[in-house]
Amino acid sequence: MSKQPLKIMLIDDENIVGKRLKPALEKTGDIVETFEEGEKALARFDETPFDIVVTDIRMENIDGIEILEQVLAKSGRTKVIIITGYATVEIAREALSKGAFDFIAKPFKPADLRGIIERASKELRSGFLHTT
């Protein structure tokens, strides 16, 4: 059965993150859009929903937790993966309790993120409804 490509949104205020991860994630045939500002990303989300959102947690104006909350409010089935600057248990716990699919701590390798996205896509495709 042919895989429907997933729509992935990547938000990080570091320009290099998007630049490097876009080709890395597109290798699986998925569609990747990158954003450096939370507002623009949320506006884009309103136009078209994404299956997976990967967002940095520490950003100016809108932070990752806020994006997580807004995205889940807009689309409950979207998997949100949080990138944390410094992996502290509290932030991870807060993100997970608010419905994040998983979190990944900087610095990480593209393969690490691909692994998480793969798990998320499996869940999405199996139709399993992720509930918190």
């Binding site: 490097r20 520490r58 600057g85 900087k106």
Partner: protein, 502 residues
């Protein structure tokens, strides 16, 4: 137990040989004890003299009174003798009575001869005795006179010697009476004189001693105030000699040295605390370049064969740039954290403040507040220690960040002070402000409005210590509606040397 006793027995604390006490020690010694001893000795000598003199004058008076009594008796006797002599001549009564009285008078003179001689002096006594014996002889002659003719020959001589004898004695008695009166008056007045002299002397000594003690005590009160405000320079001699207060000054200097040492330890521990706060931010800031490097390098390996030369070059450059970015972050923190002695050097205040804002950039970002730095150009250089000044500004900015809610504003302004020779740094926030009743305690060590785990209460106290040591000042103006402004004023290099030498 024995050890214990020796410990108590030798509580002698001697700071004489401490280097900071050399100038105090190199003076002649006039102790308070010596001053008190001299004053008391003076009093004693004075009292002793006056008492001795009083005793002497009273003794003299006593002999005078004795003499007057004797003289009185003697006078009475010779006057009586003359009265009988007159009676004999006028009424031809018995002359024996006159002789009898003269005999008694003679007896008095002989009996009290020493006493009288003492007052009259030998010559006068002799004259007195001669007058009496001459009169006596005349009386004897008169008694043996056979007829009136013979009597008439004797009478003028007898009268002459009689009156001479009486007037001589009378004069003396009168003279002695006057002198005794004078002595009495003096004896009565001397205690009054003594009292007034004593009073004047007492008040003078009291004023002198009290003034000296009070002035010195006041001086020491000034010292404690100065030390309390963080000025740890040793006490210098204020007088030309040393006394018990010198020992106190020496102990003070020792305490100041210890305090200065403790203060430096405090400074260091507060810096460690600030580093701890900054590290959390720095860790985040390091994670970004590290992540960028890792992602880029990973992709470079992954797609090494498919990437164009141009893309590879760009990625390698990214790796270099991001590594340098990480290096800058680490260097900035290390500059702040570096251990080291105070190094006073001419500094650009603008650069120091800018570096400080860079150190706290993450705290500012996380708290979602805005930081605005406004720096006048061409400011004169200031005298100071780079690290310590950064510590002050980091501290002021972190304090502002702590009180602000997201969206808050921090405005830092670096400019020339209105007082010439000073530059001014103001750190202004639009937070809730500091209530007036705690404004006075805000610079006290260990005073904090933050939660136990968040603040040590040392930040502002340490900052004040640093700024004061550089000859500047730090103060705050706070208003519940308009937030808080911390003002730091620092002397420029031109004026610093003058202030330091004060």
């Amino acid at each position: 137990m024995d050890m214990h006793i020796t410990d108590i027995k030798n509580p002698e604390i001697n700071h004489e040989n401490d280097p900071e006490n050399m100038s105090l020690h190199e003076r002649p010694s006039i102790s308070i004890r010596a001053k008190v001893a001299i004053s008391f000795s003076l009093f004693f000598i004075l009292s002793f003299t006056v008492t001795g003199w009083s005793y002497w004058i009273l003794t003299k008076l006593e002999t005078k009174i004795d003499f007057l009594e004797i003289a009185d008796n003697y006078m009475a006797e010779i006057q009586q003798a003359r009265r009988f002599e007159k009676n004999y001549l006028l009424y031809s009564t018995d002359l024996e009575e006159a002789l009898e009285h003269l005999k008694t008078a003679d007896a008095i003179l002989k009996q009290k001869n020493e006493q009288i001689e003492k007052i009259l002096e030998k010559e006068h006594f002799k004259t007195m005795v001669t007058y009496m014996s001459k009169y006596h002889n005349q009386l004897v002659l008169l008694r043996s006179a056979k007829n009136d003719k013979e009597k008439e020959l004797i009478v003028p001589m007898l009268r002459q010697f009689g009156s001479q004898m009486v007037s001589f004695a009378g004069e003396f008695v009168e003279k002695e009476q006057i002198s005794a009166k004078r002595m009495f008056l003096l004896a009565k007045r001397v205690p009054l004189y003594f009292m007034s002299v004593l009073f004047v002397l007492m008040s003078f000594v009291l004023m002198f001693l009290a003034r000296q003690l009070l002035l010195t005590l006041n001086r020491f009160m000034e010292y404690t105030k100065r030390i309390g405000e963080g000025d740890f320079s040793p006490i210098l001699p204020a007088r030309k000699y040393k006394d018990e207060f010198t020992k106190l000054a020496e102990a003070f200097n020792h305490m100041i040295k210890e305090l200065d040492h403790k203060h430096n330890v405090l400074l260091e521990s507060h810096k460690l605390r600030a580093i701890g706060t900054l590290v959390a931010g720095v860790a985040h800031e390091l994670n970004n370049p590290l992540n960028n490097t890792l992602l880029t390098a990973s992709m470079l390996t992954e797609d090494f064969h498919t990437l164009s030369e141009e893309e590879k070059m760009e990625m390698v450059n990214d790796v270099i740039n991001e590594t340098e970015r990480a290096q800058r972050v680490v260097k900035n923190l290390l500059d702040f954290a570096r251990e080291g002695e105070t190094a006073i050097a001419p500094l650009e205040i603008g650069k120091i403040v800018e570096d400080s804002t860079r150190l706290v950039v993450n705290q500012v970002k996380f708290a979602k507040v805005n930081l605005e730095l406004n720096c006048e150009t061409n400011l004169p250089r200031i005298h100071g220690d780079e690290q310590k000044l950064k510590q002050v500004f980091v501290n002021l900015i972190l304090n502002a960040v702590d009180v602000l809610t997201p969206g808050g504003q921090i405005r830092i302004h670096v400019q020339k002070d209105q007082t010439p020779g000073y530059v001014l740094v103001t750190v202004k926030d639009n937070g809730p402000g500091i209530p007036e009743h705690i404004q006075g305690r805000i610079f006290d060590p260990f005073f904090t409005t933050k939660a136990q785990s968040k603040g040590t209460g040392l930040g502002l106290s340490v900052s004040q210590g640093i700024i004061k040591k550089l000859g500047g000042y730090i103060h705050l103006t706070s208003n519940p509606d308009k937030g808080t402004i911390f003002t730091v004023s620092l002397p420029t290099t031109e004026s610093a040397s003058e202030i330091m030498s004060k």
